[in-house]
């Protein structure tokens, strides 16, 4: 895998295929066409029930927290921008900018997921909207949950790509390298879960006790162990994220990042549709 000169590869034409479109990209396009039908079926299910309202259904407008969802929608859109920048970077052979953009994409994706977790928990505990409480609950959770799963898979994929970009040019494929990658991913996941947990707890404490030094104190007191663990994980990530010298990852891998980017953009676009069809239309006065 000799490193090509920066920008030497034509990213719009793959001479080894009949059409010039790289196989992985074509595969992703075809998969996304299929995924359209998955979401189409779910959105159709949701809309069918919204257009034929059922007695005892939850009141959508009273349930939703449209400000929060608008915020997370905006964040997800911004993540698409960062994704596009990562692709642009790797197509120029720039590994470090690509890593930074990938990390930002992951971060934004996690904010979106955090908002969704918060939203779900809020709906369940405060608004009594569960999977089984009404048809609205069923269609809402399964649709937005399926989308959330797509985002989570996307984040995991971004994370794997990020870790993969550290494999040194020499020694790829050694068991030690595999273990290092595995540890990198595991620590990353641990950091994500722990910090999401802490953030949600903090938000909860602030909601319960108000925005004061006291609530921060209580928060720190209750979660000191988790906090130390999180900081440790983040520290380890910083250590693992140092420049490892020459890496195997190169401009030739741009197609991998680009395919992933297609997926990520698609998931964002689907969210725009869901945000419109599930959230925004509820605020349109029909009668």
């Amino acid at each position: 895998m000799s490193s090509a000169h920066a920008g030497a590869i034509d990213h719009h034409h793959d001479p080894s295929t009949s059409t010039g479109i790289p196989n992985k990209k074509l595969l992703m396009w075809a998969f996304l066409a299929s995924d359209c039908m998955f979401f189409g079926s779910l959105i159709a299910t949701h809309l069918v029930y919204r257009l034929n309202p059922i007695e005892g259904n939850a009141n959508a407008v009273e349930t939703f927290n449209i400000e929060l969802t608008s915020f997370s929608t905006f964040i997800l859109l911004m993540s698409s921008l960062m994704m596009a920048l990562s692709v642009a970077a790797i197509q120029k052979g720039q590994i470090k900018p690509m890593r930074r953009c990938l990390l930002t994409t992951i971060f934004f994706g996690l904010i979106f997921l955090g908002c969704q977790v918060y939203e779900f928990a809020h709906f369940v505990h405060e608004k009594d909207l569960t999977l089984s409480s009404s048809v609205f609950g069923s269609t809402f959770y399964v649709l937005t949950g399926t989308h959330g799963t797509h985002v989570a898979i996307g984040v995991f994929w971004l994370l794997l790509m990020y870790v993969r970009s550290f494999q040194p040019a020499s020694g790829v494929g050694s068991t030690a390298m595999a273990m290092r990658s595995f540890a990198h991913v595991a620590i990353f996941l641990a950091a994500v879960v722990l910090s999401m947990y802490l953030t949600l707890e903090l938000v909860h404490d602030i909601q319960v006790h108000g925005f004061s030094a006291g609530s921060f104190g209580a928060f720190l007191g209750h979660h000191v162990a988790v906090l130390i663990g999180t900081l440790g994980a983040l520290g380890a990530l910083v250590a693992l994220g140092r420049d490892p010298g020459p890496v195997a990852f190169s401009e030739a891998n741009a197609i991998d990042v680009e395919s992933m980017g297609l997926y990520w953009h698609f998931v964002d676009i689907v969210w725009i549709v869901i945000f419109t069809a599930v959230y925004l239309v509820e605020y349109v006065p029909l009668h």
Binding site: L27, S41, L131, S132, V135, G173
Partner: protein, 656 residues
């Protein structure tokens, strides 16, 4: 095979070595880890034929029960399980995988490629299909039957389209429906992944000169079918997910008391279900479109129109789903729209039949066994098409819907159409796959047995339907004027069963004892016949350059030598790069099997582990680990030297 190979320096040394890459080409290990499209095709074929026999056995039990009024062969619940499993098995485990067998084996050969675009993903498709098939049929295990249950094991008894709300826990509390849901989901994953692979393969891996309008019609139909699969299966997958959530997590998608709409299931199912009909028949049309020109010794009549009508059928297939629901009270507008759309589909279908006849016209028809089946196909498919037109007349359909008339219709399309054509394909490509040719006499005897048995079994069902016999009834009284035709039909079914069994025996016998075939026993027209039988692992020594539509026919009849592919010289010197085998596709499928079993046996695992999610999570972890290692191991590879140069004979060679 006089090719030599060695695992050359080009094999990137980047494989993560958790599991060493398997090298065995034969034996269980070789088959389990293979990424060769030809071997995977054969695996599909073997499984499909096996399940064809299983589904046939179920059909015979159904027919024996109905042979005389008030039959006592099966009780009510067992009968309901039989028709459910018969339909599900034949659609998903027999006809679809048998088509997939041909897709796999032939597509790369016909377009001049060395394999599919993603060989390991191809293996994953097969093993996931296999996992789904096994899981679904595990439901027959007698020890699963709960106390007092009159059926066998816990096999589903909901019909192959499993209409909600009969599938809710209120009406089918047992595991049967869960088996059905999870089994179909696994089969759906397998089909979608396989189809994505074929789409990329056909669009991207064509040899130089193999333009889209030079593709063999079979490859075109594979492409259309693959698009149908990736666009249609999501609908049923989502419907199944919704149903699974209803049954497992208390959602209300189809829960009547909470306002759920069972009709929604029908729409989602048939948005999948009608394209599925074309998923079953288009490959058959493709096969026939290959066989007729070969044995008429002239090109396919109106190739562009055949291709266009195939694509047209694919598109229209998404616009007619509600003709399965004419009696559900959709209203005048919807019934009219779907009736007219359905009639429209008759035009491209008719066009194909006209063109097949045009192909025969002024040809020199050689009635070899594959040709006999192909001709039988045209006749039988025509019959099925006619009853299809009858059903499109919605008011007439109100009498025929859910009666034996419909049963006759779709068996004419699926046996007379799909199965006849798939058998034609088996006889046609058997020499290519096995290197041996099936004898004519027994082959034709088999055909006539199947043909007569089929017609005696299914033609009378038209009369039964017109005489008011609904489908899916396990018993009937003797005073309804149905006795004669039911008896005749069962006799026919026995002949048909015998015929199919005989044909399978004949094919298996021919694989081992048939006469050696040579590369081109039928004077074929397409690229696969330019190869030895069976083709070498790497298919083509050098990638061919295509100069015409029936490329092999053209090459045989021209004196101009074909230009050489630009990489030919390089490959002669350095060998042909082949991907390594891999554990991970089968391992990922195994993970899905564990995940699926966890979802089916939730109540049992709750009893053992205290929580239902343990086993599904374990399965999911296996899937994730396998996929990750799969991504890390890279395609790997070794080099094959087609002309015996390099590291000597056989499978020596050094791994790097």
């Amino acid at each position: 095979m006089d090719s030599a190979l060695h695992h050359g320096a080009a094999a990137p040394a980047s494989a993560i070595t958790l599991l060493p890459r398997p090298r065995a080409k034969t034996g269980l290990l070789g088959w389990l880890t293979t990424v060769d499209h030809k071997k995977i095709g054969i695996l599909y074929a073997i499984s499909a034929v096996f399940f064809l026999l299983v589904g046939g056995l179920e059909a015979l039990l159904i027919r024996l029960q109905l042979m005389v009024p008030n039959g006592t062969v099966l009780n009510a619940e067992t009968y309901n399980q039989m028709f459910t499993m018969h339909g599900t098995t034949m659609v998903f485990l027999a006809v679809m995988p048998l088509s997939a067998a041909f897709f796999n084996y032939l597509t790369p050969l016909m377009i001049g490629a060395r394999d599919v675009a993603f060989p390991r993903m191809n293996a994953f498709s097969f093993w996931t299909f296999f996992a789904g098939a096994v899981l679904l049929n595990l439901s027959w295990l007698p020890m699963l039957a709960p106390e007092g249950y009159t059926g066998i094991g816990q096999a589903p008894a909901v019909g192959w389209f499993g209409y909600a709300n009969h599938t809710s826990t209120t009406y089918t509390p047992g595991l049967g429906t869960d088996f059905w849901i999870v089994g179909l989901q696994l089969l759906g994953v397998a089909s979608v992944v396989a189809s994505l692979n074929f789409i990329v393969t056909i669009i991207n891996l064509r040899a130089p000169g193999m333009t889209m309008m030079r593709l063999p019609v079979f490859v075109w139909m594979t492409l259309v079918t693959s698009f149908l699969v990736i666009l249609a299966f999501p609908a049923i997958t989502i419907a199944l997910v919704e149903l699974m959530f209803d049954r497992s997590f208390g959602t209300n998608f189809f829960e009547v008391a909470k306002g759920g709409q069972p009709i929604l299931w029908q729409h989602l199912f048939w948005v999948f279900g009608h394209p599925e009909v074309y998923i079953l028949i288009l490959p058959a049309m493709g096969i026939v479109s290959e066989i007729l020109p070969t044995f008429s010794r002239k090109p396919l009549f109106g190739y562009p129109i055949i291709v266009f009508s195939g694509a047209c059928i694919g598109f229209l297939g998404f616009a007619v789903w509600s003709h399965h629901m004419f009696t559900t009270g959709m209203g005048k507008v919807a019934n009219t729209a779907f009736a007219l759309a359905t009639m429209t589909i008759a035009v491209p279908t008719g066009v194909k039949i006209f063109n097949w006849i045009g192909t025969l016209w002024k040809g020199k028809i050689q009635t070899r066994v594959p040709m006999v089946y192909a001709l039988g196909f045209i006749w039988m498919f025509m019959m099925g098409g006619f009853t299809g037109i009858m059903h499109s007349a919605a008011p007439a359909d109100a009498q025929q819907q859910d009666s034996y008339f419909v049963v006759a219709h779709f068996h004419y399309v699926l046996i007379g159409g799909s199965i006849f054509s798939l058998l034609a394909g088996l006889y046609y490509w058997l020499p290519k796959m096995s290197g041996r040719i099936a004898s004519e006499g027994p082959g034709k005897l088999g055909f006539w047995t199947v043909f007569i048995g089929f017609n005696v079994a299914f033609f009378p069902m038209h009369f039964l339907g017109l005489n008011g016999m609904p489908r899916r009834i396990y018993t009937y009284d003797g005073n309804l004027d149905w006795n004669l035709w039911n008896f005749v039909s069962t006799c026919g079914a026995l002949v048909l069963g015998l015929g199919i069994f005989g044909v399978v025996c004949h094919i298996v016998y021919s694989i081992f004892k048939g006469a050696p075939a040579g590369g081109d026993p039928w004077h074929g027209r397409t690229l696969e016949w330019s190869l030895p039988s069976p083709p070498p692992e790497h298919n083509f020594d050098t990638i061919p350059v295509v100069r015409a539509r029936d490329v092999h026919w053209h090459d045989k009849h021209t004196s101009e030598p074909a230009p050489e592919h630009p990489t030919a010289q390089h490959e002669r010197e350095h060998g042909v790069h082949m991907p390594d085998q891999s554990w991970y596709p089968a391992l990922a499928s195994f993970g899905l099997f564990i995940l699926g079993s966890g979802m089916v046996f939730k109540p049992k695992f709750v009893a053992i582990f205290g929580h239902w999610s343990i086993v599904p999570i374990l399965g999911a972890c296996i899937v994730v680990m396998a996929s990750w290692l799969w991504a890390l191991e890279s395609p790997g590879g070794y080099h094959v030297h087609p002309n015996g140069g390099g590291a000597g004979h056989g499978r020596g060679g050094k791994h790097h």
